[in-house]
Amino acid sequence: MKLRRRDFLKATAAVSAVAMVGCGAPKNNALAPMDPKKAIGEDPGKWISTTCQGCTTWDPIQVFVQDGRAVKVRGNPNSKGNMGTCCPRAHMGLQQLYDPDRVKVPMKRTNPKKGRGIDPKFVPISWDEALNIIADKMMELRNNGEAHKYMLNRGRYTYMRDMIYDAMTKIYGSPNNISHSSICAEAEKSGAFYTHGYWDYRDYDLTRTKYLLIWGLDPLVSNRQVPFVIKTFGDVLDKATVTVVDPKLNASAAKAHNWLPLLPGTDGALAVAIAHVLLTEDLWYKPFVGDFKDSVNHFKAGVTLDESSFEEKYTNGIIKWWNLELKDKTPEWAEKECGISAEVIYKTAREMSVAAPSVCVWMGPGAAMHVRGTYSAMAVEALCGLLGNLDNIGGTMMKGKTLAAKMPKLDDYKDKIAKIKHKYKIDQRGYLEFPALNKGKSGGGVVTNNLADGMLQKDPMEIKMGIGYMNNFAFSGTGAQRWEKAMSELEFYVHITTNASEMTQFADIVLPATIATFEKWGYLKSKANLHSQVSLLQPVVEPIWDVRTDETEIPFLIAEKLAERGFDNLLRYYKEQIKDPETGKGASNAREFAEISVKYYTAPAWDGSGKIGDKINGWEEYKAVGVWNDDRYGYKKSWGKFKTETKKFEFYSETLKKALGKHAKKHNVDVDKVLEVCNYEARGEKAFVPHYEAPFRYGSFEEYPLTFIDHKSRLNKEGRSANTPWYQEFKKVDLGDESWDDVLKINPDDAAKYGIKNGDMVRITSTNGSFTIKAKLWEGLRPGTITKCYGQGHWAYGRVAALDYKNAEPRGFNNNELMPCDYDRLSGSTARNGGFCGVKIEKV
C-alpha cells in the first residue's frame, strides 16, 4: 500500500472536533475521482496477443482483457504453429497472475541465519533501498578485485535474457552467468547433434505422418509442442500408427495403438535391436542410406562386414556401426535387457519400415536424461537415419529461420576487470569429469546442477554474491539437499521472482517480478507444424503490484545505481546500443527500456526488411497479431548439408570423435580416460557410434529392489503453478494422481507383495533420502517400478503449494530430494530418468 498523500494521515483527536467539522470533504489516498469521460457500463473487452511461457512450447496465445482485468485465454489464431490452440497451462496463468501470495514489493531479509524452516524475517523496503543495497554489494566486490565472485542464475527466460544474463554479467566482469538449461533437457540434443549436427529440439510433421513413435515423453503433456499435439492427436490416431515407448502409462500411451513399457534406462537396447531388424530384414530406407554395392543384403546377425561393400548416400558409417554395435543386438538379446518381447520388437521395426519415410521418431527426456544418456539418445535418433524420415514428408523435422536482431557487441564497454579471462566457471563445465560438450565444444554447455557443488567446494572460485531470476534450483535440481547447504552458506543472494519459493528462502533481497505472459515485455522463438515463429510477450494488463521486468527493467535499474557509484559502462551500453528502431533513440528510463529492447530485437520480423515468412507492417501491427510465422519448412533441405563433420547423417560420429578428442587433449588424456572418468561403458571405437550402455543405478537391487520413475505433470508451469487452486483441483488429470495430494503410484502386484493397500502411508527410501507418502495402487506401470509425478513437495512456497510454510511442511515430497545427483556428463545434463534411482518401500 503506497502512501500518496501525507494529509491522509492527519489525525482528528476528539469526537467533538470531528462532529464540528461535520461531513465536509473526504480525505483520500487510494481513491480518486473517476474520469468523467470514462464510459459507465460494461467494457466490451478485447483479445490481446502475448505468449504463454508455461512450458517450452512457448505458445502464442491471446488474453481477453475487460476493465483492465485478464479474464480468459485462448491460443493465438495467428499462429501457424498451434492453429489457435493452447493447453491447460495457459489457462492456469490467470490464477498465477492473481495469486495473493505473489511477491508484491521488494523485501529485505533481517535474519542472517539461513536454512529450511528458519524464518528469513523479510520486511518490505522500497525499490530504491533494495537497488542501493544490491549496487553497493556489486561495487564492493568489484573494488576488491572480486567481480568474478558474483554470479547470475537464469531460470526460464525470454530472449531478452541477453540484457541480464550476458550484458550485465559480462560488462560487470564475471564469468559466472549460469543458466538452468541442463536441469531438464540437453541430453536429447546430444542424440541429434552427434548423428545429424543439430543441437536443438526437433519438429514433427504430424499432419502427414504415417507412424508416430513417441519415446520417453508424453507430447500431450510436455516437450515443446503440447498445443499442436492436442490439436492434431486425434487425426494422427486415425491416420497413423502410434506407438509409445515409456516404462509407465501416459496420456498418449492410453490412446496409442501400442505401448512398450520397457525397463527404465534400457532405451538404447530397444533402439539398437530395432535397428538390427531394419538392417537384417532389408527394411532400411535406401534412398537415404544407400545399399550394398551388389544390392544383396549382407546384414546377418553376428557377421562382421567389409566397409567397402556398402555404398552410402546421405549417411556415414553404417557398416562400422553394424560391426561395432548392431550385429549382435538381436531382438532376442534385447528382450532380456529391456523387457520388451522379441516379437514386439520385430513387429515395431517392420511396421515402421512400412510407413517409412513418413515416420516421426519423437524422442524425449525419458530416453535421454540418464547417466550415460548421450548414447541412449544417439541410439534412438539413429533410427531417423535408417528410416530416412529426417526432414522428410511426415517425419522428424529440423527448423526453419526466425527473424530477430543479434545482441550488440559488448567489447567496447568491457573494462580491464571485465576483460580478465577466466578458464572455468563455477559449474565446473569443461573439467575432465564434466565435458558438457554443447555443440561439441568442451565446456560449451552448462552443468547447472553442479553449481551447488562448485559453490560448496569453492572451486574454481568462491562465490560471494548471486542474483537469480525465474529459477528455483533448490527445488528443481536432483540431490536438492546440496542446494540448501550451498545457499545457506552463500553470503548474499538476490532473488527476482513472482512467488517466494525454496530459493527465496535463502535470499537477502527479494525483488518482485512481472508474470511473463501477462505483464512482461519479451519475445520468444519457437516452432511447431513446420513453422518457426517469433512470438511477442507484452503487458496485457497493468501489474497489480509494484513489480518490474526481470530481464530488462531490473538490470537497467541496477545499471543506473552502478553508474551513480562511478561505473557507468553497463548503463551506457543499454542506452547507446539498444535503440528504438523507429525513433533511433535509446531508453531514458527502465520502463522505456523494457519495450525498446523488445522492439530492437524483433524489428526484423515487422519492419519490412525480412524476405521470408509473414509480412507484418510495423510495430503496432506486430503487437496486434503477436506472432511472426516463417514459411513452411521444406522437405529434404538438409540432406547432404548436415552440420556434422562429414556433412552426412553419422552412424559413425566423426563429430563426437572430434569433440571427445579435443576434450581429452585439453586434459592430456585419451578418450577412454574421459569415458572412464565420466562413467560411460564404451571404450575405443564404440565411443563414436550409437550404442547401448547398461543403466547406472544408485542402490543395489538387493537393498533397493524397486526402480523409481519421476514423471512430468501436464499442469506444471515451469515450476510456478503449484500455488494455484486449479493445479491442485485438477491434479487428477495426471494419470493416477489425486486432487490436492501427492501420491506414490505402485503396481498392484508389488503392493500385494508388500501388504500395501490403496491410501496406506508408506516410507520410500533411496540412497539420497527417505520420505513418508500416501500409496496409490495403479496398474499403469510395470511391476518392479514405482512412480510419482514431479511438482509437489514445496516446503517454502505459498499457502496452496506448501502445506505449512512456517513449519516447512510440504504437500507430499519433492522427487528431487529422493533422487541423487548425477549427470550425463557428455552433455552436462542432470540425470532424472533411466532407472538410476533404486528405492525400497515399507508400510508405516
Binding site: 500500500m1 461531513c23 473526504p26 490464477q95 495473493p100 520486511v123
Partner: protein
C-alpha cells in the same frame, strides 16, 4: 444515522484504513493516528474502551522491527499470507485476487464516482481501500443529507457493499489476524475492527 455519527464513523474508518498501511510510513511516524482512532472508538462505542486502550498501549515501547515483520507476514508476504487483506480471497471460489468480487467492488466505487488511483498498485478490494471507500461514502451521504438531498440510493449501495463485500472480508480476515498475529497491536486491531464493523 445522524450526520454527526456519520462523521465520526467516517473518521474511524479512515483511521482504521491507515492501520493497514506500512507502519513505518504511517502510524509509527504519526502515532497520533492510533491515539485518535482509540479516542474515537471509545467515544463511539463504550464496549470498545478496553481494546481501544490496548491498541494504544501495544505501541508503547514496541519493537518496530517486530511490528514490521508482523505487518509483512500478515498482509504482504512473501510466502503464505497470514491474513490476506483482499476481499476476493474470502468471497470467490478461486481464492485469487482481482476476481469477480473485486469487479463488483470496483462497480460500487464507480457508482460513487471513484476509482483506485493507478499508482496504488493494489487491488480495489484491499481492506485499506475498502475502509477508505466507506469513509468517503459516509461523508458523501452526510453531505447529501446536510443539503437535504435524497441519499437513499447511495445509502442502499453502501449498505449492500458493507453486507455483501466488506463484512465477509472483515469477519474472516480479523479472525486470522487474531489467530496469526505475533504482536499485540495487530491482534488487537483484528479484534477491535471485527467488533466495530457491526457499527458501520
Amino acid at each position: 444515522m445522524t450526520t454527526e455519527s456519520l462523521s465520526i464513523n467516517a473518521e474511524i474508518c479512515r483511521l482504521f484504513s491507515i492501520m493497514f498501511y506500512n507502519p513505518e510510513e504511517t502510524f509509527l511516524s504519526e502515532p497520533e493516528t492510533v491515539k485518535a482512532l482509540s479516542g474515537l472508538l471509545k467515544e463511539a462505542d463504550a464496549s470498545l474502551k478496553e481494546d481501544a486502550e490496548t491498541l494504544v498501549n501495544s505501541l508503547e515501547g514496541v519493537d518496530r522491527q517486530e511490528l514490521m515483520l508482523d505487518y509483512a507476514a500478515l498482509f504482504v508476504g512473501p510466502f503464505q499470507l497470514q491474513a490476506p487483506p483482499y476481499g476476493s480471497v474470502y468471497l470467490d471460489l478461486s481464492k485469487t485476487v482481482n476476481s469477480e468480487s473485486t469487479a463488483k467492488v470496483v462497480d460500487v466505487y464507480k457508482k460513487f464516482g471513484l476509482n483506485v488511483d493507478a499508482e496504488m498498485r493494489e487491488p480495489a478490494d484491499h481492506i485499506a481501500i475498502e475502509l477508505e471507500f466507506i469513509h468517503t461514502a459516509l461523508i458523501t451521504i452526510g453531505n447529501m443529507k446536510n443539503q437535504n438531498r435524497d441519499a437513499s440510493e447511495p445509502e442502499q449501495a453502501l449498505r449492500d457493499f458493507v453486507n455483501k463485500l466488506f463484512m465477509p472480508l472483515v469477519s474472516q480476515m480479523c479472525e486470522l489476524m487474531q489467530k496469526n498475529a505475533s504482536t499485540d497491536f495487530y491482534r488487537t486491531l483484528g479484534r477491535i475492527l471485527l467488533k466495530y464493523s457491526d457499527n458501520i
